[in-house]
Symmetry: D2
Subunit: 468 residues, 4 copies
Amino acid sequence: MDDRFHDECGVFGIFGHPEAANLTYLGLYALQHRGQESCGIVASDGNYLTSYRKMGLVADVFRDPKVFDRLPGSSAIGHVRYSTAGGSDVKNIQPIMVDYHRGSIAVAHNGNLVNAQEIRNQLELDGSIFSTTADTEVIIHRIAKAKADTLADRVVEALYGIKGAYCLVFLTETRLVAVRDPNGFRPLVLGKLDGAYVVASETCAFDLIEAQFIREIEPGEMVVIDKNGLTSYHPFDKVDPTPCIFEHIYFARPDSIVFGQSVYEVRKEFGRVLARENPVEADIVIPIPDSGVPAAIGYSEESGLPFQLGLIRNHYVGRTFIEPAQSIRHFGVKIKLNAVRDVIKGKRVVVVDDSIVRGTTARKLIKMIRQAGAKEIHVRISSPPTTFPCYYGIDTPTRKELIASSHSIEEINRYITSDTLGYLSFEGMRKAAGVADGSAGHYCDACFTGNYPVKFPRLKSDSQLGLF
Amino acid sequence: MDDRFHDECGVFGIFGHPEAANLTYLGLYALQHRGQESCGIVASDGNYLTSYRKMGLVADVFRDPKVFDRLPGSSAIGHVRYSTAGGSDVKNIQPIMVDYHRGSIAVAHNGNLVNAQEIRNQLELDGSIFSTTADTEVIIHRIAKAKADTLADRVVEALYGIKGAYCLVFLTETRLVAVRDPNGFRPLVLGKLDGAYVVASETCAFDLIEAQFIREIEPGEMVVIDKNGLTSYHPFDKVDPTPCIFEHIYFARPDSIVFGQSVYEVRKEFGRVLARENPVEADIVIPIPDSGVPAAIGYSEESGLPFQLGLIRNHYVGRTFIEPAQSIRHFGVKIKLNAVRDVIKGKRVVVVDDSIVRGTTARKLIKMIRQAGAKEIHVRISSPPTTFPCYYGIDTPTRKELIASSHSIEEINRYITSDTLGYLSFEGMRKAAGVADGSAGHYCDACFTGNYPVKFPRLKSDSQLGLF
Amino acid sequence: MDDRFHDECGVFGIFGHPEAANLTYLGLYALQHRGQESCGIVASDGNYLTSYRKMGLVADVFRDPKVFDRLPGSSAIGHVRYSTAGGSDVKNIQPIMVDYHRGSIAVAHNGNLVNAQEIRNQLELDGSIFSTTADTEVIIHRIAKAKADTLADRVVEALYGIKGAYCLVFLTETRLVAVRDPNGFRPLVLGKLDGAYVVASETCAFDLIEAQFIREIEPGEMVVIDKNGLTSYHPFDKVDPTPCIFEHIYFARPDSIVFGQSVYEVRKEFGRVLARENPVEADIVIPIPDSGVPAAIGYSEESGLPFQLGLIRNHYVGRTFIEPAQSIRHFGVKIKLNAVRDVIKGKRVVVVDDSIVRGTTARKLIKMIRQAGAKEIHVRISSPPTTFPCYYGIDTPTRKELIASSHSIEEINRYITSDTLGYLSFEGMRKAAGVADGSAGHYCDACFTGNYPVKFPRLKSDSQLGLF
Amino acid sequence: MDDRFHDECGVFGIFGHPEAANLTYLGLYALQHRGQESCGIVASDGNYLTSYRKMGLVADVFRDPKVFDRLPGSSAIGHVRYSTAGGSDVKNIQPIMVDYHRGSIAVAHNGNLVNAQEIRNQLELDGSIFSTTADTEVIIHRIAKAKADTLADRVVEALYGIKGAYCLVFLTETRLVAVRDPNGFRPLVLGKLDGAYVVASETCAFDLIEAQFIREIEPGEMVVIDKNGLTSYHPFDKVDPTPCIFEHIYFARPDSIVFGQSVYEVRKEFGRVLARENPVEADIVIPIPDSGVPAAIGYSEESGLPFQLGLIRNHYVGRTFIEPAQSIRHFGVKIKLNAVRDVIKGKRVVVVDDSIVRGTTARKLIKMIRQAGAKEIHVRISSPPTTFPCYYGIDTPTRKELIASSHSIEEINRYITSDTLGYLSFEGMRKAAGVADGSAGHYCDACFTGNYPVKFPRLKSDSQLGLF
């Protein structure tokens, strides 16, 4: 279901193109779904870095074309960000940009470091000051303190001992560096446009600017791009990659290729397996738009039940909807979705969604579908029950709030008031994702299993203290 | 295809509810697709009318909850408006509100009068002044000049001789009046919420506020709502109603019931008949989202070809996208839609859309689908060729710009570079809409036939002078 | 004292200059003191009128230079306006612009009609509608209904029977008309710039654009300016002019020439006579800035007591100061003015101000001066006690609120806590203004005498009902 | 002359008052003249620091009262800032707030460090990163690296070796520290309000909040305020204080007491001595408002020539005036000031201003006064010729741009087209300021003499390289 999880960020970078800042703007626009709170661009003209960073959506922040006059140069990086921290505090907006003894450096980060606090404490004891609360700032501090001679070596030195999920895109006056953590939790892809290299969180950013998708930046790979071209490094100890399965389940755009697979096709396969595992006699299959659509199509194909768009999404929903002050009732999900009565009335309806977090939204939607006249409602979830929080860059609630961590499927079914409820099995998910048959690599599945591939010294935030 | 046609407006009204202005806000929010340029609310507290009207989307204009403090009272009307006139000219924002010898009156209008200019000229010769360029102002002038004793009679007297399409919602200190023209071109529905009467352009506005849909306001009907309840009048000479078929083809939201029929179901039936009339050997059916979805589902069902979401819509597209100033290329439709390569690659694709206007957008989309690897592209349009402009409230381009008015289907097929192109036939459309079999009344089909049910004394604007 | 009275408006017009809208903007900027709530410009390119009108200060409303692209043409009129009506209601912003049977016409109005309501009632009974609550709209209605052939004659016909204060500047596609009521209550001057005629409320607008001041538009005069030049008419019955003495006392800018006299010099003379009439043994003379400065200089010169700037005005005070929400005290006048302790401490201080309205601000200022260490405080007011409200365009409070209407000078002295209080005598004012010795004409002095030169059929607004 | 020089900043702090943030807002409002580009407040509730910082004037930035809900606590510091750097770059807005190993700390700085670059280079070599380009950041870095146990000692340790002008106000969770550099270049005063300590750049901030002025923070003094009260330290080597004479000449508000003297009285004395040194036969004395007023009053008193307000300032001038895009002429100083023709016409006029920088503004003003009819214009400047740039916190132009550094008084007189030109002599200034007779301490007079009391290792910015 939309807007329940939030990936922390999306990143973009381009080196060697006369329209660097403009293209970064477009790239961020295509990655807007990965972060809607703030965004920013840092550009280099070969001698100086300049930045423009602000709270707001990409199209709003960069509305005034004159902004681009302040971002000259042929290389640029950009960032979109979501944060649970409310309000208008601007200090965490990325890319972070600082001066240090070698010049200037900026960085855009997607992910979450599990030992950032330890390293930060150590740096503070050594006299460092921190202007943001972002994990990313520790990396910049360590680069500034690194002794190595080349930028590449300094980045590697800085990342030594850093644990967790990170896709980092650095920009200096003359170089762009992109690094993906050894586990490869978050996606990062490499492309080319008019001879310039491009990096982005997802391929949909390449499609918009008509860049050619070359390949993934591999887990543990660092690429350094300068006027001499691209150099690839694998500076870290090799581990088994564990990309995040939730990118396929929910986060990534369905028109992206992520971890080598079409998100749309993986989602549809989730729906197919879900149909085989959880068949039901029914009249129609409807998705929760937009995230549930491909799985619902897969379910429809496999089950033979007709696919219908039984819920319509209001196009004009944005961050900005303000419920009336003296509101007589809470509008919640109705602001976003409305049922098509003539599609649903008198029907046995299979409702396909990607996941259930707290169950409250599902409960409201089922009430809406019931009011539209559904005879039976069979909820089918295209992923296993989410029982553990994520520490690698996804803003899931605490374990206590995850309904599946403390309730059986039947209990959830009763809570959300569906007639039946079926989840995709863990093995079914692995099979659909190609893990079981070896056609795809392993994935991080900690949110379903608690099997965290990178250990963390202690919990990162109070908000997740309910975990153990 | 989205954003090519624009209905002039959506209207809403409520009488006798303590949350009148708040509910009007929500109603306008649900009707936002009918007009995105400006919006406004006028409320009455029984003694005075107050208004808040501004350029912008509903959620933006009414963002500050304090606005509602200025709109006290238990009755209110609202309006959303689109206009081809660019810029920030505020003078045409509705509802219009004036004082006259009987007190104050406000009006919200959806439609287009064909003899407004004649009446305006006459009124000006009699010494009237006009503060707006809207048709609606002539009606207000005539109400002020009407001699009848009751508001109901004055409205009827004012509308005498007024020709064209109108759904009007009036508000005075103590009454709400809703009128639909005898032809019933535009939709207008009546509902009830907590004992209060509600009127709206579409039922989707009722769904959001959880009002009960009672019935359509009939063509030629006027309802007067005051503290004594609702009184219905049929003051006009009876004519055969001709509601606008394009509400079903494109304008209305699929979750609305319009002219007594589910928009979603009518669109799906368009797709079914389209499939029967224009079969093709292919692998998949994809819609142009979002307007083409129900017809594509119908086409898929009838043809047996699998439905896929081959084009993904960017959620964050709004009116506000600014193309980069020094843009290296024109992004056009790519900003809105992106192809899912793995769905399309190597496939024979049926692309379903609701209509073709100029052909330029279709041409770009087909290029995008072709670049995504489609082997064949078969465009199927769920309406007949649009060959005549509308004079009853829809902002179609001039005849010269309508590609189908001067090109054969085969010529259009070549222009948009599809492999084949098929339109729904006129008879097929009538059959799908239930006209042919008598299960639904007649429709205005002037945009396909040039058969205008209400004559106009002369052309309304230069922009459409290319017609004859 | 600043900000206590508010003149309704300032007007500006220019005909025959390629920079018409830009110069109007500058003219309004110089007239900003006459109205801070809203402003607007209407321009004509010879065929069409275009407008830009908004709530806000001139420099804010016209901040975006692109606005001027929408105001093409070589003639323009403009308006700044103050209104007691709070909030953002835009409907009364001037210039008013309408279409009627002869084309388009716009008008900017400074003044107040005393029989507007009667005429409005009559017009409404004849079927007219009113979009604003401004007096000005009745004039436009009457122009539209006028039968005369020429614009000049129609304006005269429209003004027939209109009573009160008005300086009107009309703009049509091809003409600019400026009219001043027979009493000449409000100022209106004629100038020339690069061959183009200019009209404005005050000469300070000419100074800024470097136009040459030619002469006053005379009381009862109408000038019509078109491509053939300027024609002057005196279409009204002649009455003894009664320009508003308060323009000299408070409203007009001291650098303007108003009613043929330098405002600065008249004010200084007020101060001189005040010193002769109300001498006192003291150490220094200080003004309430900025309006009291010239009179204080006059008082200083005549009395021989040294002039000091004992109160400093905060430059950054604007309409926008928001007192802290949880404010621990009310800041009032301290936000604007601060005492210079070393100037005042231990001194016997003569404080010169132009007038006292309610007495509350004076009371606060005297407390501030006392706290700064003044040994004695002798308040001297450079006008007689204000005892009657104005019906000719100045927004004075009701009689009940005017402290001098119900309190003796000694009572006021006690209320504001000054040691002594002296007013300029009525005869002293006439003498200083040149009335007594015949060097200047008569003035309207109704606010001091209740001797209203134009009778009004009934009271205009409830807010002044306390009068009789 | 206004707006030619710009002091970098104003600072404010309060400890132990329930309305800390609100009072800081008011204090900044009174200090607005010291910096109009950006402003900010940091508050402490005893456990956490929170901040609100933005580009814009104080009244605009803090317009929404809800902002104060985000600034809870009983201590707060604030900052107003001017910068030559244009645009909207937010990174240098103060107070700076960071986390370090002892917690959080914020600082507001008024002044300029002459060896900031050296220290910054050293810190960067040690691995520090810099997020701003402000001098102030080096101090924060050094506090974080300081080894001392107490905050007081760490601040002293951090300031060791720091040279230049600084008034610093620090805020931690539980303490407020205010420090003034040993030379005492910039003013800093201590006050008390309802038992809470208050510090501010000028006493006018105390007047507005009705705090009691206690004394100056002495040159070289550091005060630490916590729940136990105030402790004063003098941790630096004692040097002869050299407060900035230009605070008295131009920067400070005339209603402030600065360096123990009334600014108004010092300015008036400058005018008196100026009159004695540069007498002239004339008719009137007029100031360039507002900065020239007190000196003009002094000149008038000493010379016996009558003081007149011959130039009127437009109240509504702000940072926001936009000259019309297609402007036909440059309006420059006319936007701000207008001559009162009747005051000036035919007169021999003494024009008193505080200083001349480039001479261009003076030239325009003299042209304006001449056009208003002045028979003779005698310019009198209430300070010696400004010949050297400031390195201690005032944004003067380079030496090349200072007209007096390369032109004789007679040459300047010819350039600005005055009849005669007279400056206050250096000795006259010292005498008027009380230096000569020992009634006041020494002042920094480097801008007149090039005698810089604190040496700088190298020039700070290219923009001033023209100096030697």
